[in-house]
Symmetry: C2
């Protein structure tokens, strides 16, 4: 097991009814003024917006609004939020939505107390380290990104179509309201993207070169099994509170650091996917459903035993020590089939991409200096990235 430090300070209020008390909850945290940050009209259509604003009014919390965050949230909205917070003296951001809204809120929170340009903070070439941030709290509406407990934030800079991230414990929300009921009206396609995203967060940690990580291996497997076995139930037409609840909590645990404690994660697939989202506007989850099976097939020989275990523990294939290769392939195929079964596309061409795009995508993937590779399980060069992308063209 690797040495690690871990801080998961976000208070979780899980279950029904918390959003009606959001005003008094904020008061407990000494908040009297917020930026209410959200996306499109879905929280208005669902009634969540009304519940929250009524609760804020009742608690006499002054509220500045900034809606309109779009999937793959953009830097221009972040800059708008920063200006707004500065102008009104807002010190606390309440993000109501999914990972896009929460990440947009985190970036605003990082930018407000910083003299320079907020883009300075973004990886892989950050100019500055984040020293101070406004506090952020969330009301989650999409189980997917795990941003409601995580230390990370992903933003797309429209100038150059660069999708980049930062990670700091400072951006972990102070509290998050997780009410599965708030996913009742979520379109099934978006839920399927979320399911893919949360599985991807576990995959990125599960496929590791770190040795003797039995506890976190088993915790990863527990989360993956839960997500897989609840997916169909949650995707069925009728809303199923219990399936939604297990998925929602799984999405938070998949990305709050717990499953990666003591192990080096990979994260190449996320890096590669960011280019698909940036170029084709595909949802992050669906982009991952395309990249991940390609990545798995490209790297599995690096540790066939781990992929065989994955097939056995997560997908239920009988352990056959005489054919670990075959078992590993079974697990990868099952993963790809699962993504298709929940409605994800599986090829770049289905997004409108062509062979001519591959060099561009590979060249734009954020390769980390000085080796100019991405990922840790198998460090990938630009050529490797091209190969993977071609395999899922």
């Amino acid at each position: 097991m690797e040495n690690f430090s871990l801080h998961m300070p976000t208070r979780i209020f899980f279950g029904t009814g918390h959003e009606e008390k959001i005003g008094s909850l904020l008061k407990r945290f000494g908040v009297s003024e917020v930026l209410l940050h959200y996306g499109g009209g879905s929280i208005k259509a669902s009634g969540l917006y009304d519940k929250i604003t009524a609760s804020l009014r009742a608690a006499k919390i002054h509220c500045t609004e900034l809606g309109g965050v779009r999937p793959n949230p953009v830097l221009s909205t972040v800059r708008e939020g920063i200006a707004l917070c500065r102008e009104r003296g807002v010190q606390f951001i309440l993000a109501v939505g999914g990972g896009s809204v929460i990440d947009s809120a985190k970036a605003i929170a990082a930018g407000v107390p910083y003299d320079g340009d907020v883009w300075d903070f973004f990886y892989p070439m950050p100019k500055k380290r984040i020293e101070k941030m406004l506090r952020v709290a969330t009301v989650l509406t999409i189980p997917a990104a795990g941003s409601e407990m995580s230390d990370s934030c992903v933003i797309t800079n429209e100038d150059g179509n660069l999708k980049r991230s930062f990670s700091t414990d400072l951006c972990r929300p102070v509290f998050s309201v997780l009410n599965p009921e708030n996913t009742r009206t979520l379109p099934k396609y978006q839920l399927a993207c979320g399911i893919t995203d949360m599985l991807a967060h576990v995959f990125e940690r599960y496929f590791t070169n770190s040795r003797e990580v039995e506890l976190t291996d088993r915790l990863c497997e527990a989360v993956m099994q839960t997500v897989i076995f609840n997916a169909q139930r949650a995707l069925d037409a009728e809303f199923d509170y219990e399936a939604a609840a297990n998925l929602m909590w799984a999405s938070s645990l998949a990305h709050n650091g717990l499953l990666g404690a003591g192990r080096v994660g990979d994260w190449a697939s996320h890096g590669i996917e960011h280019e698909l989202s940036a170029k084709y506007g595909v949802a992050h989850g669906e982009g991952l459903a395309i990249v991940l099976p390609g990545w798995m097939r490209y790297v599995y020989k690096h540790d066939v035993t781990r992929f065989a275990r994955f097939a056995s523990k997560v997908w239920g294939f009988e352990m056959n020590i005489n054919d670990l290769e075959g078992l590993a392939a079974d697990g990868i195929n099952a993963t790809a089939e699962f993504f298709k079964a929940i409605g994800m596309r599986s090829k770049i061409s289905e997004l409108g991409g062509t062979a001519e795009d591959i060099p561009y995508l590979a060249a734009h993937t954020a390769l980390v200096p000085p080796a100019m590779t991405i990922g840790n399980f198998v460090p990938l060069t630009e050529t490797d990235v091209s190969n993977i992308l071609n395999s899922v063209l």
Copy 2:
């Protein structure tokens, strides 16, 4: 899944080398003066005491010492610590040891800012709610109680031999240093007690009437399997860092609230065991090894399916849906055999107890008003407690 709130704010520094930096770590938290709280001579013999005091001196952190905490920590030491902190104006407690030392530190931390007697806070008949506490940090030396991340504290009042607890998020440590190396010199008997204690913390949460808790069921199973499969390796004569590391992290996760999120725990076995510790001075873990199989045999018919799942998932018995009762019994027997195999006694008579003690023990068990029962999976009356104790006499 039940509604829940969860707060796990303790920063974890896991792995080697952190205790040498404890002084600068404390500085980061704005601390310039501590009560250094510990048990007997083991941390002096192991060299840990020297490392820590050297680091405190180097960081110019003023240090008041209170050693001598004994297993099943007592109220008189807590009162001594409270007086000492008040006299010297100490606002921060550094607990170096296992659950006993940490619990003693938590009780001191609760008592210092309180005008009345600290015993007022203890359950099941608390006179007062804790409103404010000093901060506590820990350097863990025994993987067992989970107090290094937990919200709970158990103290024995010598006046009446009452072992009682309180729970509040306020007593979660601000940080904990978890270095498996610090368990290198731990006597194997104490490690076996710790293994029993951490398993007990999972059992208490796993056996629940809460429905649709698949994610936490699987997380519980992951932790139990890890503990069971690492136990022998850790108990072998040669110190095994990796087994120690997996056990240490398991002990923290077993009791930090994660595994109980969304489910109602039982906790009868803990309550019953407290009387064994109070009367016979037996280590908490070994007392649990006696109580738990008795409790399981007494209650399993309440939910045979759950006990059958336990046998299958945790102990590896093949699921046989035609004989769930037999499967449940296999799981319970395996649990009892496991405790024996790691060196735990299995009968009250082995502690020197006799049939005449049972009425006293049952009468002293902290039954919760108004029903005067203990536990949630099956609420137990004083008669039930007697029956269980007689079954393990």
